[in-house]
Amino acid sequence: MTFVHYHVRHETLYEYGQVVGESHHLLRLTPRALPWQKNLEHHLAIAPEPSVQRTFLDSFGNRITAIHFTADHDYLKITSEFWVELRDRPKPSVDATKVAWESVRDSLRYRADRKFSPEHLEATAFRFVSPNVPIDSRYAAYARESFLPGRPLIEAADALMKQIHRDFSFDPSATETFTPVEEAFQARRGVCQDFSHIMIACLRSIGLAARYMSGYILTHPPEGKKRLVGADATHAWVAVFVPEYGWLELDPTNALWPGLEHITLGWGRDFSDITPMRGVLLGGGEHEPEIAVTVVPEEEFASLYGDGETYLDHLSISPPSSAMDPG
């Protein structure tokens, strides 16, 4: 079975206009352990040193690191660095690919005294309105272009993904983190977060269950160009509930099924559940974080960081020996 190793470095730097006396932050930066994803080693460097740091799992099973500062600070630098091993996600069985979408929709509906399986009950959590994802007939109408009557769920969901990719332009200038999904839907443009929210709205509006997936994606430098440190970004995609299989992942930004290039941090109902960093400050003034993400395959690791003076000294971990073992 094939597998790949990646090194991911995700740096966030806040420089506050005014001194902050007290602050709390929640970090969702630990990659999730999955059958096809092994978190080989994870290191979280936080400066200045927090007064309190602890971790716990949120209600969706994502690991949260909570930090609290009770002394003056005028900056916050968080570096999350990890090695991860990816294998292929399991393929849906032939049976699973044949299930009509309406029967999945009906299986998620409530009927008095009908018991839900644990999988179905978990799926219903991702079936309703959430803070950033509305449910509306316009999304349903748009979804029905792909969700034709009787069409198998997987085929229809794949078609919807391609439909969004075809109809929407990738345009980082069109939206910001908190732009409502309606605006991106109207404008037919946005970034991965918008594409994912729109696809989720479409799926939920026709009664299906869909998750917002948060993580990273391997980028490919243009032909003849070298990979650059800090040139990547966090990524988002979608997963739809398929009974007897689980959650089928779909990336509407790139019109593909996530495979060996999508690294998963975690999931939630939408972005608001899985924001990588969230905090409350006492003071601070205005500030915009500087974020730098670098995803590098193991074989390019040495050439990317090897001759770079800046990062080598700071690298806190090296490829673990287990990662070299093709077992």
Binding site: P48, H68, H73, F116, V129, V280
Partner: protein, 834 residues
Amino acid sequence: MAKQHAVTDILRQYDPVPDRFDELGYKGSGPKPHWRPLLQQLNLESVDGLNQRAQAVADAIAEDGVTYNVYEDPRGDARPWEVDLLPLVLGAEEWRWLSSAVIQRAELLDRVLADLYGSQRLLKEGLLPPALVYGQAGFQWPCQGIQPAGGRFLHLYALDLARAPDGGWWVMADRTQAPSGAGYALQNRLVISRAFPAPFHNLPVTNLSDFFQGFQNSLASMSPAGTESPLCVLLTPGRFNETYFEHVFLARYLGLPLVEGRDLTVRDDTVYLKTLQGLRRVHAIYRRLDDGFCDPLELRADSVLGIPGLLGAVRAGKVLMANALGSGVLESAALFGFLPQISKKLLGSSLAMPSVASWWCGEKPALDYVIEHLDELVVKPAFASMRMEPVFGYQVKGAERDALIRKMHAHPHAFVGQELVHLSQAPVWQGDRNRPLAARSIGLRLFAAATPSGWQVMPGGLTRVAVDEGVEVISMQRGGLSKDTWVKARYTTHSKSLIKKRLQVSDLLEGERDTPSRVGENLFWMGRHSERAEATARLLRAAFNRLSGHDQAGEYALHGLQTAAEQFGTLREAEPDEVPEPLPEMLLKAVSDPELPGSIASILQALLLNASQVRDRLSSDNWHTLNRVGKPLTPPPATPDQSIRALNLVLLDCISLAGFAMDDITRDASWVFLVIGRRLERLANLCTLICVPLFSDRFSRNAMLEWLLEVANSEVTYRTRYRRTPEILGVLHTLVMDASNPHSVMFQIRQLQKDLPEMGRKTGQLFPPDLGECMERLKAVDMHPFECKDTDEPCEALGKLLEDVRSEVYRVSDEIQRQCFIHTRFSNRSVKPH
């Protein structure tokens, strides 16, 4: 027989609608027995006499309102609370049944919450649709899996009841989050029991104080206090909340500190109250803040009312929340249809008291039924968070009706159809001689509190009255007409109030304990802002007075004033490539533009904001002066002359405020912050002002001495001392070294060296900040070099020293903020290495 006649006398023209239940039971066999003592009393008096009594009731409410209005914003439009002279009276048998039904429902809802935030068996087994949990904003995901401290989710539960024509009670709504009304019910009781002492004792009426005592004791005993003495607080959203009156009232009655989110802090998963004496651990929070607002870190990020990290403390089991965070999920009429089954499952018994018949449209047959029977139903939002008004089916016609039906088809989960209930009627005092009583529809809100030995129901409640005769609907808005609710006791009890009858010596000693940090902080900033307003007003007045000067010296003087104003942050410095606005225009804005930072108007605004936070510590004269001080700035003065006149008025009020600060405020632990705030601000301003000439060339410097004395308010001191035109040596001595001049640098430092240790004693700080080094350096200044003609060098040296003093002022101010108000540490390790 005479009595019987008398009873019917007061009831002449009392005419309840025939097909409604009459609480009085008048039309049947005559008034029910439990109403008789009250009716007999009414008949002993004339209608005029009773009208006087009604007026006394209204006056008592208004009077208490005045007491509470103290806390209200001057802009606030607090609605008067209206109480009917007549209580609703309930019999002992009926009460026994009602309270057992309430207890059953409270217990049921507590278990439903435990299930929804725990194993979710109800969802798995199909007893409750996931849409009613996952599909609404009331379900707080971050609370999933939390085991509440104290073992319960519900601590104070309320429900709204209506009585159907057959006399049966129906539940109209559940209040599981932060129910309001218990305080109003208590307030009604205090007033109405005084209006009718005889029937109150003759019935007799069950007292309410045991209930509150029980609630208070339970919070303490169920809280995770361990061996510590438990500290419970009442958390309020603040004085803009519609029921703030009740928060203040209950906090006083229960003896709980009334706190806002920013009064609390979470350290290491433990909640603390910030006091001037340090952090005090909080063990239980009786909250009047809705779920979503309680923790901006994990719940609504836009909440400024909550406590960041509270959920962490809850998760760690370190604080009892009454009620548990997330309990708002049950405030949904959509649940009603599922409760009978759930009751059988969780309690093993049927629901004693039915909910009003409700159809949740998320189920297709229910949706069809509701649309078909729209005229007989009320359509309501399924969830409290939806903020939609109920719609009476028979009232919507045509296009409006079609639109409603379309919406219901599009979002069936969001709607509930509910049967129209014909409410029962009770007599309301009209005061009309021919028709003293009128029949009006009523609804009843009851309350239950969890205690270690089970639920206790408040023997009474808040009866709410429809706005008019013939009106079926009771407005769900707060306010409106209400009634006291009397429950006939089965035996006489001794009434006892939680309010202490007389002061005790231990009360006298409590004066200095646990002053919330917020009080000190606002007094501190009141001090700083009022002093800053005064200094800025003097500075601007001096500038206006010199605008028309034409000679070189006048130019120098004005330029110096402009520099000083820039350093005060009152005038903006022009960018190098910017054409500056003409000075007169800039000065006019610096007086009256509230949007301009550093303007008089904006400083006074900040001052008023600080003052309103400590309104209860200020005398009414002080408060009036504070409200008046900015008045001369509206309408904004349009010319320099008008500005000078306005500034003169502002200055007079500033001087009054200074007097109040010294003479009019109780000298407790918080007062010292007001004084220190004033001194620090004055000291910093003096340093800034004096440095302007010190860092100027010789010619400009001499031209600035006159305004320097004027702005530093030391002309008189200088003149009486030296009787000559200002010279540098004399001016510097007066403003810097002269410890007898209350406007000198030395004077401020000396006072602060007394006030800061005093603050340390009052707050228990071992090492209060201090200015000893500044004092030593100032004492060592040699004034002789200022006798020479060329004073550039000593001026620069003194200027640098004063700049250091000013940095020290800022350090001390920051240190006070950290140590006494926000309770954090100073750290120089956290400055980013570049």
